[in-house]
Symmetry: C2
Subunit: 352 residues, 2 copies
Amino acid sequence: MTADRIGADGADGEPAGPRAADASRASIRAVANLAGVSPSTVSRALNSPELVNAETRRRVLECADRLGYQPNRAAQSLVLGRTRNVGLIVPDIANPFYAPFIKGVEAYFRDTEFAVFLADTDEDTATEVRLAEAMIERVDGLILCAPRMSGTRLRAVAAKTAVVLANRTSRNAPSVLLDFEPGMDQAVAHVHALGHRRCAYLAGPANSWSNKQRRRLLGAACAERGIELADLGPYEPRFTGGYRAADEVLAAGVSAAFAYNDLVALGVLSRLTARGVQVPGELSIVGFDDVPMASMTNPPLTTVAMPVNALSRAAAATMHSTLDPGAPKAPPLPPVSELATRLLIRGTTGPV
Amino acid sequence: MTADRIGADGADGEPAGPRAADASRASIRAVANLAGVSPSTVSRALNSPELVNAETRRRVLECADRLGYQPNRAAQSLVLGRTRNVGLIVPDIANPFYAPFIKGVEAYFRDTEFAVFLADTDEDTATEVRLAEAMIERVDGLILCAPRMSGTRLRAVAAKTAVVLANRTSRNAPSVLLDFEPGMDQAVAHVHALGHRRCAYLAGPANSWSNKQRRRLLGAACAERGIELADLGPYEPRFTGGYRAADEVLAAGVSAAFAYNDLVALGVLSRLTARGVQVPGELSIVGFDDVPMASMTNPPLTTVAMPVNALSRAAAATMHSTLDPGAPKAPPLPPVSELATRLLIRGTTGPV
DNA sequence: GAGGATTATGAAAACGTTTGCGGAACAGTG
DNA sequence: CACTGTTCCGCAAACGTTTTCATAATCCTC
């Protein structure tokens, strides 16, 4: 029977009144004393309910609740060897392309035992590696979004912690990717259909994987259709980067421009409008990303949309399943078709 | 002398060759063995150099380096009782007003021993408290940016961890604030000077501190100048929230509108432009925040600018100094004048 | 050169958990 | 009743640090 133990309840340790919880100071030992059991039993009651008597468990839980007991995470991490944190590093929080990605990852982990560390590299490679180093000590895994660090550096990081890559490939870590090809192909076909034969690519950061990717696919699609492609840039991948691009693209004598992303496309559009240049009359513009603002300008931006939400959840799920074998396995990567990009034709493209 | 110890160097423990670091597996004990000292000495060499012999220290450091030793943070946290993490909770990462704030805080802590946990509540109060609860266990302090949680809840949080508030006051925690008054006053004076006598306030979230604050000051400034103020909303504090606001403000028969923030102002502007309404000809618009996009629209937005960067650094510094007594004390709060807002007159305000 | 002050180091306790091992109580089986 | 198996629980070790305390070695001073 457990009756005697119940009887012992109020006898030893703390007074049994409904005292206010003592501000995160209650240890597992305090709970154990109050409940008249050993710390082991408390731990088991909390973590493996099937190992303790139902009545004992009820009592332990009640005592834990009364004391406002919260297990000390440092102690748990120490013995378990896991932090139950994951890190997320993105190039720029302020870039509206990454916001949905971040939200997707955070939303995914909100319902798990994991908390996420988010950091912003300010588009700077050195900061990126410093942040990665700092995070490694505190997390079980790292989601790297469009990382710029070198391959060898990436390998070093992956050697120390679980890594999943978004928008970047590597032999050393799993990655989730967008399939740029469909959207890019549609964009070039669209521009071609409108009669454009001389176009420009407004490049983003030279060491960016997506920049290379976009340039490559664009080159191929243009070549295939006999479109001449001029390379401009690189430009800062921001709105203001588009200002400079606008002036240079005008001077380049092309009739259409593909921007590295929506921000520079929007910057180009703004600058052109300010200079009194007609869009799409004198120049057609195609963006990349479909950030929220893209649909809100005048004219609204023709752009290539990405299923960022699917991408972020895929990244999070991949990480989760490598960290916690009990996690919903799901297909480690959704079928590529889910991550296909597609062209959104709006107002900034027109006949030459 | 220490010569004998040097001689002992390669004799015991690990082979002395430049082995590759063993993937974060090296403990302080391994370093101690390799260096031929006790773990205590290694700890001291790392944390309180003045307590160990210079030569010993050099040797320890070299061994630590060779093994790629990284102290285990969980163990440190456990004994020290501090995590050396701080949490930062904001309503919405995608809101361009918060991005600079976040970056400011992250930049501040980048050069300290602290790492920052960032989370986004999606403007949802319940999520906010859940995130706060989850973070409390993992951080030494929490920076709450424009929190919406109730006062009692806030007190409960502040009882468990150090808290600093941004854009919200409370008896239970220090806060850093923007002084809305100057900017607001300038805005009303500006609109009054242009001849407007019937204006509207496009409200933000009803439970938001800044919303109340703005409404109050606006009401006072308008009353003082004999301007009639209509209350519209609340609206979602986003671009799309402005769409609905635009239609309602047109129906309200006013000649000028103060938006809760730039996003809704921009939304209004966009919707109005789409409906063919002249801005500022038929309606003048004043925003709040001076987000980057505000200067890039056509016409550019008249808005009240905030020294967000100063605000975020003040918040971070306040937190830092309460956490680490050794931190640069600085004035706990910069003089209010530094945090004053001011009106930026651009293109969306004109004579009635 | 004896004594006290100073410096450098090691041993061990402590932080708060989890978990392997073993033992006690009890149930079932022959 | 003896034996085996099961259920429940406590003891103690372990995780990797930091820090107190004690001790040995060295230095200084008269």
